[in-house]
């Protein structure tokens, strides 16, 4: 983007970032016989995954009770992998409190940062589904969750699909759905948003929602969730 400035002029240039104030991508995808949980920039650089902040990695199979397999996962520098046959899985990373200061962000609550100008609590959820499974359109039960309304087994690249976004299992309006940090739509009163599927192989959509809170530690809670699935061919 180039902006041309000539004197005299109103010397203000607005630089708009197409994304939102989000943390890094956090997603779960299938690789070989394993489910791999990653953190960073999907399609770009991976970043270290702080395993100490991981709270759960739940594997679901049809007609069986769900199981938290976080302890069975293998942790490496940039990912966490789980060898298991799941038809749906979800992970929860509790990022804790973040405070914005004149020196940047600090991973501490506002009550412990004297020069904080705002603070928020970050919770990130990553979900993967096998679109051929009946579990794919079911609510898994995460605090913040993206649930496909459309049968994704029939959706190909270029088709549109509807997603419902739930907070505490209830549809929520005003949540933003993005692909690759590009906001594509906001949920309506039914908590639904309809977007075009852009990837031909694996698609990952992400949602974010900010809720104000009254607390000495934070001004808001930021919920983020991703849903990753293999696109039908």
């Amino acid at each position: 983007m180039t902006t041309r400035i000539a004197w005299p002029a109103i010397l203000l240039v607005v630089l708009t970032f197409s994304g939102q104030a989000l943390a890094h991508d956090f997603w779960l995808e299938r690789q070989g016989g394993a489910l791999v949980l990653r953190y960073g920039h999907r399609g770009g650089d991976m970043l270290p995954l702080d395993a100490a902040k991981m709270r759960s990695l739940v594997c679901r199979k049809e007609h069986r009770a769900s199981e938290d397999l976080l302890r069975a996962a293998v942790i490496s520098a940039n990912q966490l992998s789980l060898v298991a046959t799941c038809t749906a899985a979800s992970a929860f990373l509790d990022g804790g409190f973040y405070s914005l200061t004149p020196d940047g962000e600090k991973n501490l609550p506002k009550s412990k940062v004297p020069d904080a100008v705002k603070a928020w609590r970050s919770r990130q959820y990553a979900k993967w589904i096998d679109v051929r499974s009946s579990l794919s359109t079911e609510v898994q039960g995460d605090e913040f969750e993206i649930v496909p309304v459309t049968d994704l087994a029939k959706v190909k690249v270029g088709d549109k699909a509807t997603f419902r976004i739930l907070l505490d299992r209830k549809p929520i309006s005003g949540a933003v759905l993005s692909v690759g940090h590009k906001p594509l739509g906001e949920t309506d009163d039914r908590g639904e948003v309809r977007v075009k599927i852009r990837a031909a192989d694996v698609e990952s959509v992400s949602a974010t929602f900010r809720r104000p809170v009254k607390s000495p530690d934070a001004d808001s809670e930021v919920f983020e969730a991703s849903l990753t699935f293999e696109v039908a061919r």
């Binding site: 902006t3 004197w7 010397l11 708009t16 970032f17 994304g19 920039h41 940047g104």
Partner: protein, 153 residues
Amino acid sequence: MRSRRPRAAVALLALLFTSPVFAHEVLSSIERGRAIAVKAVFADGEPLAYTEYMVFSPTDPKIPYQKGRTDRAGYLAFVPALPGNWHVKVTEAGGHGMELDVAVELPGNESAGPAAAPAGIASWAFVLRPIVGLVLIAGVFAGLVVLYRRRKS
């Protein structure tokens, strides 16, 4: 005679404390209409507050001409020293960067480099320097004369 001693001491101390300020000679000026302000915002309108940025001059794309953090409202500002494409890069906490080229055309003599001092400051400094020097010398001399007379009496 004793009552004069504190006065002389105060005069000497004042001279000692004021002289380092002038030795470093930190001056400032306000120039209007020379800076370019860039406001960085997310798509939802939220400013990128206290976010790291770098500004590269048209002649050096490697070493930043300026770096810092945006202010609380998401603004950064720089004063271009020469015409050409100035490159602005803002990197938000998530690691995502936004880049912008600002093509600057400076009129005639305003395209001088950063070393050029503003005319107002230069002329005042030119007048003040010898006056301050003379005052200092006179003050030290007066102090010495007072001490000499006191010892003599």
